[in-house]
């Protein structure tokens, strides 16, 4: 197994930051149930503290589960489009 190196003092260099995925903390996961509804509310991307809701060309693309911590802000803001489910 390839070992992941911990840098001195647990510091993280920007080049390697993608290796440190924080999505594993999640207790609940946001599931998209209505894509069309999501496309009407682009500001939801800004509501996400982890910038894990990805829009491409103003169209909803996906939720980045590597970094989503399952806080549920998105589901609370847009109950019609997103639902939280227990992991």
């Amino acid at each position: 197994m390839a070992k992941k190196k911990i840098e001195l003092g647990a510091r993280i260099f920007a080049e390697k930051s993608e290796e440190y995925q924080t999505g594993s903390w999640r207790k609940e996961i946001p599931v998209v149930k209505n894509k069309e509804e999501l496309n009407k509310y682009l500001e939801i991307a800004l509501y996400c503290p982890e910038a894990a809701i990805v829009f491409v060309n103003k169209k909803f693309s996906h939720i980045d589960y590597k970094f989503c911590k399952g806080c549920g802000i998105c589901a609370n803001y847009l109950k019609k489009a997103i639902e939280m489910k227990r992991v």
Binding site: A10, R11, Y20
Partner: protein, 379 residues
């Protein structure tokens, strides 16, 4: 050059010679003179150091952490309650592996309020992950301050240099100082380390249950192995300037029946008393741990095996079987005694050293005792 100087002035003089990038500090007895004198050097333009006069020790150490993370060569000083106040951030400096040096003029911690020497303050930071070096006199303080700069930059572990409050901080002594050129060339150019200004880097990350243990194990191993770097730097210093620094000092231990273990300035009087007794053919010896963290337990264990040892503690571990030093040494020899002495700066001079040693040579003693209690005070 021969100079008459006290411990505090020796530290600020050494720092003036190497002109560090940042000094962030807050004055507290008995190290105030360090901050005073160094600030004067700054005002007089003798150094170009960024001198941050913080509003508290907590802020001073926090500023040191920021400066070191930005790649600066950093120095500070504190004592007693001040050290206690910065304890939280001391752990952070060590955990983030930031090079810096801090000089401590040992003074007990209140209450009751006190000003004089014992080791309650720096022993509080014993487990913080800093390297701790205890000095016996002004010469050693001066030399160790310079060596500490190199040690910390080599190991990326912060270094604490201790001297006895008032005994060493204010006691004047003629010492050999280096010329500024010698001091500068010994510590050398500051090596560059990954820092917040030059690299895209995050300090102070979260390490929860999945990785904290590994980070700590690395920190533990590195501190233990730092004695190699410490020895390396000391060897270079010894060779260049004719000194004899090791991880510990010892006198007559090899053929001694009884060995007295003491730290800091106390060792001077214990050594004198032992030398007197040696002339009378008494087989006594003494030993002084200089580097207390990393603790050279293997070497000390070999030195003290099979001997009767008396470990002198200038600090109390309330509720424990022995003092902090006693706990460290209790299993190293066949016969072990622990004496708590000199708390709050209670006088322990040559007279007391002679008295203590003769007590142990002549009669049976308790395994643990307080030495020097006044007979005319009822408690």
């Amino acid at each position: 050059m021969r100079t008459l100087i006290n411990g505090n002035y020796a530290v600020s003089y050494a720092m003036m010679q190497i002109n560090p990038d940042v000094c962030a500090s807050y004055p507290i007895t008995p190290q105030t003179q360090i901050i005073e004198t160094f600030s004067k050097y700054v005002s007089d333009g003798k150094v170009t150091t960024e001198n941050i006069l913080a509003e508290s020790e907590h802020s001073a150490m926090s500023a040191c952490i920021g400066a070191s993370a930005a790649g600066a060569r950093v120095f500070t000083a504190t004592a007693s309650q001040g050290l206690a106040y910065m304890i939280e951030v001391l752990y952070i400096a060590a955990g983030l592996r930031l090079p810096m040096i801090m000089v401590v003029g040992n003074r007990g911690i209140g209450a009751p309020l006190l000003l004089h020497c014992d080791y309650s303050d720096s022993f509080l930071a014993r487990d913080s992950g800093w390297i701790q070096i205890y000095c016996k006199d002004v010469q050693e303080v001066y030399d160790t301050t310079l060596m500490a700069v190199k040690i910390t930059e080599k190991t990326k572990i912060p270094v604490m240099v201790m001297m006895d409050g008032f005994y060493t901080t204010h006691g004047e002594q003629v010492i050999d100082t280096l010329t500024s050129a010698q001091a500068k060339s010994f510590v050398g150019e500051k090596p560059s380390w990954a820092n917040m200004l030059d690299s895209r880097i995050t300090f102070g990350n979260v390490a929860l249950t999945d990785s904290n243990l590994e980070v700590r194990e690395r920190q533990f191993k590195d501190l233990r192995e730092s004695n190699k770097s410490i020895l390396g730097v000391q060897k270079e210093f010894n060779k260049k300037f004719g000194r004899k620094y090791g991880l510990y000092d010892a006198f007559g231990v090899k053929d001694a029946d009884m060995v007295f273990v003491a730290m800091g300035s106390t060792y001077q009087v214990i050594e004198l008393a032992c030398k007197e007794l040696r002339k009378k053919r008494k087989k006594v010896g003494c030993l002084r741990p200089r580097v207390y963290r990393p603790f050279p337990f293997e070497k000390l264990g070999r030195e003290l095996k099979g001997k009767k040892i008396v470990v002198m503690d200038r600090a109390i571990s309330h509720g424990a079987e022995f003092g902090p030093m006693g706990l460290e040494f209790q299993n190293m020899s066949s016969e072990f005694y622990n004496v708590v002495y000199g708390i709050g700066g209670r006088e322990f001079g040559l007279e007391e050293a002679r008295d203590l040693i003769s007590k142990f040579l002549t009669g049976k003693q308790k395994k643990f005792q307080f030495y020097g209690l006044r007979a005319d005070l009822e408690n």
